[in-house]
Symmetry: C2
């Protein structure tokens, strides 16, 4: 055990490659659980679910479950089922999110709600959500069931909270952090925490991994928010300015609004109501963000959360797994630069 965690030398850009390599065998097992458990006699279910599940996501959350299990030297296979359960919850959430937001593109592909309609997306989301609980029941740990049912309730609360804050540019930074803490970070935290449960480690370990996941989730989300306004970010599978055109109030906007003149505030209010969707409007938005250091300061905050995530790993023994998880947190932030 070592008390401090040394970050990697800056020789190369941090990436997810080490964590992906660490879990690649386990991930194959998870993928086959995912494929077999999304089947149903109703063909529309695997068709629709498969569109999103095969759609090029990074499988970040199940990857975290697997990597944390590796960090704890867990030698069993229970986490395969549970990592699939986590991915099903995430997929269900995405399906419902796209309905709620009326989104038409995700990761550069047409969304399920556009192809099959909102009703099918709602119902297949419900199916995947139920199926995820069936997987957890199959594993049989009430502790895991508690962690993931609680995370699911928190996610839904966060989504409703965001809905009521929608297009309100005066949302405070605190409220925004609450929202992403629920919407994004709760499932990251739970995905990591359940590794401690399957490895039968004590609550201190559970809480350390929970903290790693939660802070990592916030860092990822904040960098996503920043990237949406940064032009060379095509690798996200998201167009620049999507959040802006959808009137999504994210941290860069919150900061620029708080720091802006009356006239600038009026611009942001108009924009978040959807009245400023031209390329010129987006350029103007970007120049305001620049002027008020809103992107840079969003990234400063993201670094802080990534740092906390890394610090949460201090109690664990140095080695391949810990280094890979540290680098994942560095990667989260590096994407924004």
């Amino acid at each position: 055990m070592s008390a401090t965690v040394h970050t990697l030398p800056n020789a190369r850009q941090p990436s997810l490659d080490p964590v992906m390599a660490l879990v690649s065998k386990d991930m194959q097992a998870v993928n086959s659980v995912i494929l077999s458990r999304m089947q149903s006699d109703i063909p529309l279910i695997p068709e629709l679910a498969g569109h999103l599940i095969a759609g090029g996501g990074k499988r970040m959350r199940p990857m975290l479950t697997l990597a944390c299990a590796r960090l704890l030297d867990y030698g069993g296979t229970r986490h395969h089922l549970l990592a699939a359960a986590v991915e099903f919850i995430h997929t269900a959430t995405l399906l419902h999110d796209d309905v709620v937001d009326g989104s038409d593109l995700r990761r550069g592909k047409r969304t399920a709600n556009i192809i099959w309609g909102n009703p099918a997306s709602v119902l297949v989301g419900d199916f995947l959500f139920s199926r995820s609980f069936e997987l957890m029941v199959e594993d049989g740990s009430l502790k895991v069931l508690r962690i993931l049912s609680n995370a699911s309730a928190v996610i839904a609360e966060g989504e409703v909270n965001q809905l009521t804050a929608q297009r309100q540019v005066s949302t405070s930074e605190d409220k925004y952090l609450d929202i992403i803490g629920s919407k994004t970070a709760a499932l990251f935290a739970a995905a990591c925490r359940i590794a401690a449960v399957v490895a039968e480690r004590d609550e201190g370990v559970e809480l350390a991994l929970d903290s790693y996941g939660r802070n990592l989730g916030i860092a990822f989300q904040l960098v996503d928010d920043a990237i949406d306004y940064v032009s060379d970010a095509a690798q996200m599978g998201k167009d620049v300015g999507d959040d802006f055109r959808d009137g999504k109030v994210t941290l860069p906007v919150i900061l620029a609004y708080a720091r802006g003149s009356t006239e600038e505030r009026r611009f942001w209010e108009d924009a978040m109501l959807g009245h400023r969707v031209s390329d010129d409007d987006l350029s103007h938005a970007k120049s305001l963000l620049q002027q008020h250091d809103a992107i840079a300061d969003t990234l400063v905050r993201a670094r802080l959360y990534a740092r906390r995530a890394i610090d949460a790993l201090a109690p664990f023994p140095a080695g391949q797994a810990r280094s890979a998880l540290v680098e994942a947190a560095e990667f989260a932030v590096a994407r924004g630069y």
Copy 2:
């Protein structure tokens, strides 16, 4: 134990009064669980959920859990939490159903999706669904979790199945029975079955109560289908002809279509596509149903399922609880006459 169950003398109309009286004290406890567990720091959640939960439903499913527990002389209180979990699953399903169907009225009141919008209904449904699993985890029975997570997956599958059969008047009676078996009867079955689990009875008892609930659920649904075309059914909180105007393919329509002439079939096809929504069209539909005994034969089938439900109670000792459950099944059918 007695091998046959005698139905009540026909002196008065069967009603739900005996079963409601049987569980009224327990139901108060369930209602307070429901009220306390639908709370959240996000005010929209209890507001929206409360609209539907306080909206005059009969609480059939939790009532069944309570009554079955009484049938088994269960003396504890675990079923209060679990009956609330069942009602939350049901409420989540209704919220999503109304979004899927674009419904504007339920039980004579404006639906949540009309008042608060589809996004809020989807997300609050997700919240209630997650909360129901939190309640089950609090109880701690993996068996109950298995029964209800499985029922939830089956419900979602049934809904997707119905979606793909939507407006297809050539749906077979078998497929329709499959759909309502999943959509409606699965949760009735689970609500009854979990009473055997909390009362720690053997699998035979579980299966008997599952059968009671499943058959009762189908009987209720078939009679609902019939009532939609019967004029003095205002007590349902549903307008006559709602299913017809919404293009919902139910058993009366399936029977009339199967038995109809080419011209009549064309009428039903048009109607199910939503091109026949006038009062005259509804009158014509009713006369075709009459001519082909479609309502009467739907009720014949409902009687059969109610009879099976009653027979499933044969192994249980005679007494107030069994009589009340028998009468509930008789009530299910009597509503149609």
